[in-house]
């Protein structure tokens, strides 16, 4: 019987299997060994939400608990990557990227280019992202557009446990810096995940639902919300195709264009802010490359251009909902 695994456990298993396969895979981060309420190292909790639980006991020489200094250990991870290790640096929340951004966008992202292709930086920077966790404005952002904007970085934001394991293994084996963003509200979501290791190539979108009327392009948690909307719309006779981009850099625009050429309608759903977002990027590409196929103006469903509110009522309003997604789809059908 196929085995189901949560996204959180899929992350753990991917790191576990890669550390076992390759001793140059190391991990650095705050509390990745210990963690809140941890009685001792051997049975420690393993990070904010227990993602790395058990790994220290298994790989004591590959797990490095760091001081609260993202700029130091992310820099160390980038440097170690150029010297032959394959480090995974964990930022508890992607919101903390600000304090180590030079190491990421000015150093890691530039080495291959500036050293004439002679330097490789196989580093993975993992971080939780996304709203809905009642964690306020500094722990809830969807910063995918910021990292996607930088050439030299690969950006992954999976929507389910199967993709998470395969894409994280690919990220660790990849010879370029990868920003791997995990939506915290997906950690508990489960699906069938093979026990054996496997890698999913970058730049391959997944058509998670087929439909002929409207194309929704999205990623991360919004894939589930879009599928919920698609289910509602089916009852109204609207068949929605849902495309999960899976990796934002590289991005699989071929799959998007092919779909829009069939449906003629596009709704881009993005949990990031609307300006310079993934939704805006995909909309622009489709407007340029498939304009003649469009039967209606492109719709975008995004968070507003505001910080993530701490008020639960406002936070719920902030996050794009299945209802808002369904409304946008209906609008393209009416045009």
């Amino acid at each position: 019987m196929a085995r189901t695994l949560s996204m959180k456990d899929a992350i753990n298993e991917a790191i576990d299997q890669e550390m076992g396969r390759d001793p140059t895979v190391i991990m650095m981060g705050e509390d990745i060994v210990g963690g809140a309420g941890s009685p001792g190292e051997e049975d420690a909790w393993g990070g904010v939400l227990g993602v790395t639980k058990g790994l220290f006991a298994k790989y004591p020489n590959q797990m490095i608990d760091t001081p609260l200094s993202e700029s130091a250990y992310v820099g160390a991870a980038v440097g170690a990557a150029t010297c032959g290790l394959r480090p995974i640096a964990e930022l508890m929340f992607v919101d903390f990227l600000g304090v180590c951004l030079d190491q990421v966008f000015n150093q890691a992202a530039k080495f291959r280019y500036m050293f004439g292709g002679k330097a490789e930086t196989p580093v993975v920077i993992r971080a939780m992202c996304g709203a809905g966790f009642r964690a306020a404005a500094q722990h809830s952002q969807m910063l995918t557009p910021i990292v996607t904007h930088i050439p030299g970085l690969k950006v992954v934001c999976p929507s389910n446990a199967y993709d998470t394991k395969g894409l994280l293994i690919q990220s660790i084996r990849d010879n370029d810096p990868v920003i791997f963003l995990e939506h915290k509200n997906l950690y508990a979501s489960e699906c069938d995940v093979p026990e054996e290791p496997y890698a999913i190539p970058f730049g391959e979108a997944n058509v998670v639902r087929e439909g002929g009327d409207v194309t929704i392009v999205t990623y991360g948690l919004m894939v589930q919300y879009s599928l919920t909307a698609a289910e509602t719309l089916k009852k109204e006779g609207i068949e929605v195709e849902v495309i999960d981009l899976r990796t934002l850099s590289p991005i699989d625009m071929d799959t998007v264009i092919e779909s829009v050429e069939e449906t003629g309608r596009l709704v881009c759903v993005d949990e990031a802010h609307p300006r310079c977002s993934i939704a805006a990027d995909v909309s622009a590409s489709v407007a340029r490359d498939a304009f003649k196929a469009l039967k209606a103006p492109i719709e975008m469903v995004t968070a507003p251009h505001s910080p993530v509110p701490f008020s639960p009522a406002l936070e719920d309003l902030y996050i794009p909902s299945p209802e808002k997604i369904a409304a946008a789809v209906r609008k393209t059908m009416e045009a």
Binding site: M1, P194, E196, P197, Y198, A199, I200, E204, V207, E210
Partner: protein, 366 residues
């Protein structure tokens, strides 16, 4: 309650099936159904297939509605002779306990794993008394290729189906991906399960494996059923084999899989996804390339077992899909003395496309 009432239930195809959609009825209330009549279309997220009646009778009630989703073993229809009153039929329907959607993975048969010399081998088992049947899938396949056959055959004999080394959920690190390795895996599993003798049924490359297992171990084989089998001629569709091995994504893989079926619409996204998931497991790509080179290098079949089969004394039959686009149907007639059945309207995956016809043939030899 009249024992003349025969229920029509939602079938269970494979271990992962929980629910199915009753896509369409082919019969209506008042139809006199004969066994093996096509009565309805059922779809799962994996596959769509037509359901044939196991028993005959007068269809009194269509309980299931077309387009609706039902759990496995849900009551979809009721057959009963006209001597049974409407009230009795209604009472039967009212009293029928609709099954819950199975959540508990421990119910019913499950997959098993055997730790053999060659490594971990996955198999599934339907036990009962008698000489067992061992089902051997083809190149790139797995035991779920026998989705529509296992339970039907289990009505007559114990049934085992395995994932060959390098396939499905069996061991992927295989030192020498060759015919000998595959044969040795079958024998090791038979030893492990204490199966002295078995009816070997093989599809495609699995047919070759079954045949070679019998030729090398004549005392272990009760009969041989070779379905669209390799090993009976030179030709093989190299475009399919190479395409399958080297396809790196869904777009490349899907058109290749269409070679497998007479009805190309059976290649749905779930089938493509499952195969892609298999191909992406660590070790599979290397394994498939090596196995292809050993078995079908230069676009031709390396092994021919016709002489060995003609010297082997056990009942043998060959079953072929008339529209097989992978291995030519003409290969069906190679073995002197073997029974040959060519099934119309089916391609290479004849055991899936025309399962009841194939099941009939297989049961003949049990």
């Amino acid at each position: 309650m009249s024992d003349q009432i025969i229920p029509i239930l939602m079938p269970k195809w494979g271990l992962s099936m929980r629910v199915g959609t009753l896509a369409a009825w082919h019969v209506e209330e008042g139809t006199d159904i004969s066994p093996s009549d096509e009565i309805m279309d059922v779809e799962t997220d994996k596959i769509a297939n037509v359901v044939e009646a196991a028993d005959g009778g007068l269809l009194r009630r269509c309980v299931g509605r077309a387009g609706e989703v039902y759990p496995v073993r849900a009551l979809l229809g009721v057959m009963a002779p006209s001597s049974v009153s409407d009230a009795e039929v209604d009472a039967y329907v009212a009293a029928f306990e609709m099954p819950e959607i199975e959540e508990d993975e421990d119910t019913g048969p499950s997959y098993e794993f055997a730790e053999l010399e060659i490594g971990k081998i996955r198999y599934t088992e339907r036990s009962r008394d008698g000489v067992p049947v061992v089902l051997i899938h083809g190149f790139g396949g797995d035991l779920d290729n026998w989705l529509f056959n296992i339970d039907a055959l289990a009505e007559k004999a114990p049934v085992y189906a395995l994932d060959l080394p390098g396939h499905g959920q069996s061991v992927k690190a295989v030192a020498n991906p060759s015919l000998e390795t595959m044969v040795s895996a079958v024998i090791q599993l038979m030893d492990h399960l204490k199966l002295e003798k078995a009816h070997l049924v093989g599809h495609s490359m699995g047919g070759l494996v079954a045949a070679q297992t019998g030729i090398s171990n004549p005392k272990r084989v009760a009969s041989l059923s070779l379905i669209c089998s390799a090993g009976l001629g030179d030709e093989i569709n190299a475009e399919y084999i190479d395409g399958f091995v080297f396809a790196a994504n869904r777009k490349e893989l899907k058109p290749k899989l269409k070679h497998l079926f007479a009805d190309e619409s059976l290649v749905n996204r779930s089938m493509v996804d499952d195969l892609l998931k298999y191909k992406r497991l660590d070790g599979v790509q290397t394994f498939l390339e090596a196995l292809k080179d050993n078995m079908f290098g230069d676009g031709k079949q390396a092994a021919n077992v016709i002489a060995g089969l003609e010297a082997l004394e056990c009942p043998q039959q060959v079953i072929w899909g008339e529209a097989d686009a992978v291995i030519p149907q003409a290969h069906a007639n190679g073995i002197t003395g073997a029974t040959v059945t060519v099934v119309a309207g089916a391609g290479h995956m004849v055991q899936m496309e025309e399962s009841s016809r194939v099941n009939e043939c297989l049961k003949e030899l049990l």
